[in-house]
Assembly symmetry: D2
Homo-oligomer: 206 residues x 4
């Protein structure tokens, strides 16, 4: 692993700087929107379930400097990538290897949770998250399937979450071919988010 | 203007918290991706040309705490909104009222520039930005028209910018209608970015 | 109502030529894809449930010259628009005013059905359609909500439909503003289709 | 080559029924919209420049039964695919092998032209098409690059075309993975169209 020159602890790490292996990675445009929806605070305790390469967890850790980020991943190759990326971007994460639902039992409480992968156990994971999420806490689900999109949306409505948002994002990136810029699509992603309790903003002007 | 409870100096301010008037506003998903492409550092000097309501400039200022953000807007209503939003989010911007190309003459140099509106003078503005942008500086253009998309892309290629990226972003937001979630589209936006000189990342593993 | 010069009985009637009222209308790009997914034959008997302005039914009738198109619409204003559009485009439709589920009871059988609106009774309508649809018949659902998208997809999978396709379509249209082309988004639409029985194509090279 | 059972001469041939080789193929959703924008008539003489696998030309030929469709392709592998697909779908095309601009010199006049590929000679091709296109004729350009999108739009505006339309289309298709439907994006396509002379519709109600 060569050294790279990237020692900014600010948002917007280019995708190509992460060690990636064959693990699917949240693309930087999706990462930016996901982190935006998390409405992180400096002292937030954040849980990233299905952390993949750790890219979201690492950018979250740059923001939550007085908080803590826990990255859960059940794929051992993913765990190694997260460790490598932590080293590369000089970030400390609490990395835990295992199944999301099982590991959730061992975690006390948190302010934010992002579900990037649920291994087919979305409902169990969201239910456990709901129990352990602090009041005014925020859940963000990144979905790539119709079923996860639907189930996450239903779950948040049924639990009476505030500020439920359902976003679909279609990104295309230009690839240079001689004098041309060929637009290539990334797969669409659905970002479902909501806030437990009264929501982050209690009093506002409309 | 009522008071709102939002005193986080972190990314992800919800759109509805900004004072907006009738000025077009960069939506929060686009804002997040734009700021990501700016690859801001804590000490960056940032220029926002066509700042609108100031939403990008304000989030940039939260990140660039040892730097400085200059917001240029030629619409006087916009200037007032930027001031109100600065007050609301407790941020200090260097706000300048006037034409982008003219005001650029008065500015020394900067590390980052985002062009949200060019008033039909894109080429002049990009040329001036190019002259004043520091080496390894980054330009980001948010385009809503085919012509701005094309011209910004051409400009960056012709100037030999590094890491030129052309992104198209189509966002839709779910609107709750009884038990249904109706997906409503935001207009597509094109985000063109590039880095002067050798680019931010000089040495890297591929 | 002025007369217009459009007497082609071929695909691609421009949206602006339809009498539209305030009834939501399937946009021509969506209409084209929907009709494509219907895989119409010249002698098909086609049902259009929630026909709106009749635009899909009218283009289907241009293709199914030895068949028949039945247009169901529960909104009386819609019925009048369908009649006006039939007159305008010289097409004969079997127009029926009323609730989709109830009217389905009165219809014998058909080869194709497109569900453009279900008035909250999607499951009942799809179940009735399934009973009355001929073997190798095709169902196409146009959905604008997450819930309809999910339920239509689930229904087709549970009924063992062949060639189930789930398509999302995001269209933007350029609007000329002086020398600029501003891209304006249409709302995303989801087109779910499937074939009863063995599907249209029984034997093929892969 | 096995025989397939598809003898409908109607719109909506599924992509997988075409013999495809390694030649890029216009996807069926894009094909449907492209044909819609061509506003074909039964007696239209249609030119397809960069015909690829012939999928657009073949569907056009199904509609223009009293007209004629000329398919130009410079890739010899493409020519063979077009011939195979003509045989498969029982259609007669006038197939010409060679460079678009050169072959255009040999063609008298036509009512419709679709440019699917221009081999870097878009301007020459559009200029020649403009000369040979009959009054009220229609040009449709399918673009996958920013540069073709821009140049085609500019060309049509500069030539004073009527009803200039610029459409961007982002399609995603669901892929079944066990009980999930994973949405996979197709690359975005831009469809630019316009009508020479006064346009197809001379008199209309607005």
């Amino acid at each position: 692993m060569e050294k790279i020159q990237w020692n900014y602890k600010t948002p917007g790490i280019p995708d190509r700087l992460f060690v990636r292996g064959k693990v699917p990675m949240t693309k930087e445009e999706v990462r930016a929107v996901t982190i935006s929806k998390l409405r992180l605070q400096e002292d937030s305790v954040v849980l990233d379930i299905g952390a993949g390469t750790g890219s979201i967890a690492i950018e979250a850790a740059h923001i939550c400097r007085q908080g803590k980020v826990i990255a859960i991943e059940r794929n051992i190759e993913g765990i190694q990538l997260i460790q490598q990326n932590c080293h590369r971007f000089q970030v400390e994460l609490d990395i835990r290897h295992g199944n999301g639902a099982e590991l959730l039992e061992t975690i006390d409480s948190f302010d934010r949770v992002v579900v990037g992968g649920s291994g087919g156990e979305l409902k169990e994971i969201l239910t456990l998250c709901h129990q352990k999420l602090r009041d005014e806490g925020i859940v963000v689900v990144n979905a790539v399937t119709i079923e996860t999109l639907y189930e996450a949306t239903q779950f948040m409505r049924e639990c009476g979450y505030q500020d439920v948002e359902v976003i679909s994002l279609q990104t295309a990136r230009g690839k240079q071919l001689r004098k041309y810029t060929l637009m290539e699509a990334l797969n669409p992603i659905y970002i479902i988010s909501g806030s437990k309790g009264q929501g982050l903003v209690q009093e506002e002007e409309r």
